[in-house]
Subunit: 213 residues, 2 copies
């Protein structure tokens, strides 16, 4: 099926379905009704049916969804049916957190290089992955196929570094720098703005307090 | 004004407005038109007017928005007009990344304690903030007012630890564990699911590749 036909809102929810289906699969669950899945996930059964019916004719009345089939199909939509090769730009705490994330490894994301400018870390290895100097990035990208680059460097250097890796062929940027990158239209990006996330929590807390008044 | 009257979609965008306005303020910009702001932020001027008109009668025709006023008002809505006290649960790479984040400090989030079980880090200090043993959490929360807890511990222990801090009075959880927490209705949460974010990037990349075909 063509991913184009699925709405952005559904796409946003797909990784969460994928996580729940993966957990069911790990517990050897073969099939699940929309009602059971609805109780687990805290969304309505009708929402689940609407979302998952995008993926064809499963979810038969009285039978439920085939967990493995659905998991595999959603995995394909998400591009997880192949290994995705990732580089980490910035060997600071955040870069190390990503490097050590078991979640990423479980989903088939393979980190093949880490890049930094700090002579104290360049040359070291983390989980057998080498930390290279940023100066070697261009030649590394010529020699290796890289699907995505995680950008965990300071804001001041992030836009220029992103422009460099894009120039050298990377088509997907996972941006952690608290700035908006202006990239060519054929390059995709996903932003994780941690401070903005915490501000949303702060807003929710304040709103909840006001509601009680 | 009452935050209740603002739509969730606008709220989601507020931290980004706040970031841009903060940058303008840092560059001594006194006022800005919706057109200029629109070009900077890459959203339509009409969207900006719609969003910002929620905050009352600024943005006069031919005058533009008063940057400092708007920045201050949005800060109030986001609960940033006071110091927010934060604890970090988990002194791993992610916990350290948050502890060292200058963005958090700049927005008035003050980290007052870090908690872990690892004897190798308990007792140490990071930026003058002590790392305590998790066993001391209950007494710490009795003695200190804590606005929010960042949960950066492994998935297997996250739900129980979240339940504990909530029991001991914390009303806002910033959850980084790749699991959904089931918290009482008066407790707010904000989730940062990193692997899901990367899956969305993977989806976008695959969709962009298919479009080219």
């Amino acid at each position: 099926m063509h991913t184009k036909n699925i709405s952005t809102a559904v796409i946003k929810r797909l990784p969460r379905y994928y996580r729940y289906l993966g957990e069911l699969l790990a517990h050897d669950v073969v099939r699940i009704s929309s009602k059971e899945l609805s109780e687990k996930m805290g969304v309505t059964a009708s929402q689940i049916r609407q979302d998952l019916n995008n993926f064809g004719g499963f979810g038969q009345q009285g039978y439920g969804y085939q967990v493995e089939y659905l998991y595999t199909e959603i995995g394909k939509i998400l591009g997880l049916d192949k290994k995705n090769k990732l580089i980490i730009l910035g060997a600071g705490n955040l870069g190390m957190a990503l490097t050590n994330s078991t979640g990423l490894q479980k989903r088939g994301f393979e980190i093949i290089g880490i890049f930094d400018v700090n002579p104290q870390v360049v040359g070291k290895k983390v989980r057998d992955i080498e930390i290279y100097h940023v100066d070697t990035l261009e030649s590394f990208l010529k020699e290796h196929e890289v699907d995505m680059a995680a950008l965990t460097v300071p804001k001041a250097v992030a836009p220029a570094l992103a422009a460099d890796v894009v120039k050298w062929g990377v088509k997907a940027i996972w941006n952690f720098a608290p700035t908006d990158l202006h990239l060519p239209s054929d390059v995709v990006q996903e932003n994780v703005h941690l401070t903005e996330s915490l501000m949303r929590l702060s807003y929710k807390k304040k709103a909840a307090e006001e509601e009680k008044k």
